[in-house]
Symmetry: C2
Subunit: 201 residues, 2 copies
């Protein structure tokens, strides 16, 4: 009994196991990074976390950077979803402010995740054909914000994104005192609200 009748079952199961271990690796990387910083995310450490030897990791990812890139993509997915939700909930209210707040909250709550998405030197391409859909989706949330009101939604979206990224990054690295964050947020939203009205006309 139980000897498989050669159906694709076992290959299927192996695929599942492989996928499960892949996400296990990514989760371990995230957790260690968030708790102890990215320098502590070594291949040996991750192997230990998932109770396998190091070479197993290289069956899932080409190298260490590929692991970080996978974490980054997951981060972009979550960020995009958070922004979408914020935009939906403030449908006819202050969508710009809601998205901005959601963005900064994401960055503040998962600093290591945010770091790997932007600061670490790995190249998750953006505007090329190889850009992961998670990244496109996240930026699409910005575009939707200014699609209706502005004549040049791309430029305004990029600018809004850049401002939020700058605030997040300078806060994360301790350059901005955190207590004024609310004021910064309000001022920023004010600026881009003005621009929605096409310069006070």
């Amino acid at each position: 009994m139980a000897t498989t009748p050669a159906g694709g079952r076992i290959a299927e199961r192996k695929q599942r196991d492989k996928q499960a271990r892949r996400t296990q690796i990514i989760q371990a990387a995230r957790q260690v990074a968030e708790l102890e910083g990215w320098p502590n995310v070594t291949v040996r450490r991750l192997a230990d976390e998932i109770s396998y030897s190091q070479p197993v990791l290289y069956a899932h990812f080409e190298n260490r950077d590929a692991i970080l890139a996978a974490v980054a993509v997951e981060g972009f997915q979550e960020l995009g979803l958070a922004m979408e939700q914020a935009r939906d909930e403030a449908k006819h209210g202050d969508a710009v402010g809601a998205v901005a707040a959601a963005y900064l909250e994401f960055a503040a709550n998962s600093p290591a995740l945010y770091e790997v998405m932007f600061s670490l030197g790995l190249s998750v391409p953006f505007d090329s054909a190889a850009t992961p859909p998670e990244l496109r989706f996240a930026f699409a949330q910005f575009l939707e914000l200014f699609q209706a009101q502005s004549s040049r939604p791309e430029v305004l979206s990029e600018l809004f994104w850049a401002s939020l990224h700058g605030i997040a990054e300078l806060t994360r690295t301790g350059r901005f005192p955190p207590q004024r964050q609310q004021e910064r947020l309000q001022e920023l939203v004010g600026l881009f609200k003005v621009s929605e009205d096409e310069r006070c006309r």
Copy 2:
């Protein structure tokens, strides 16, 4: 002849030599970083560049990060000076636009230098007592920009800085297509000009 009469001369000369070698190390680090990236800036490589053995470097800097931090401080000095000059040259013209352009030009011309100033995980503290004067000076340039016109110059300065930093960083890491940079700059300046007039009143 030439045997020193015990004056502080030789100690003085040694001090000079030491200082010279220190800047030599910093320059080597900058050059290698700009040409081959920060991962190639290893202690062995720097030792080779200045034709000394590795331990000599540790007589000047506590560790590798201290070298990078020194490069970063140099970068802040140059950035601050560039901004000051731009502000002076456009004294009664578009100071905001001039400073913004100077900032982005600096970041674009020295990407590795800009990277070590912000992205690398080393902590050059900002608002604490141990903040290097070069850093204070650079941020002071932003403050001066909005000192007169705005009621809250700190918040507006931080916001302006964050926007520029975001643009610089997203451009450096290939997230922004470089060709729209001019448009982004104009739009940004427009936003902050509006805010100078206290919201179009």
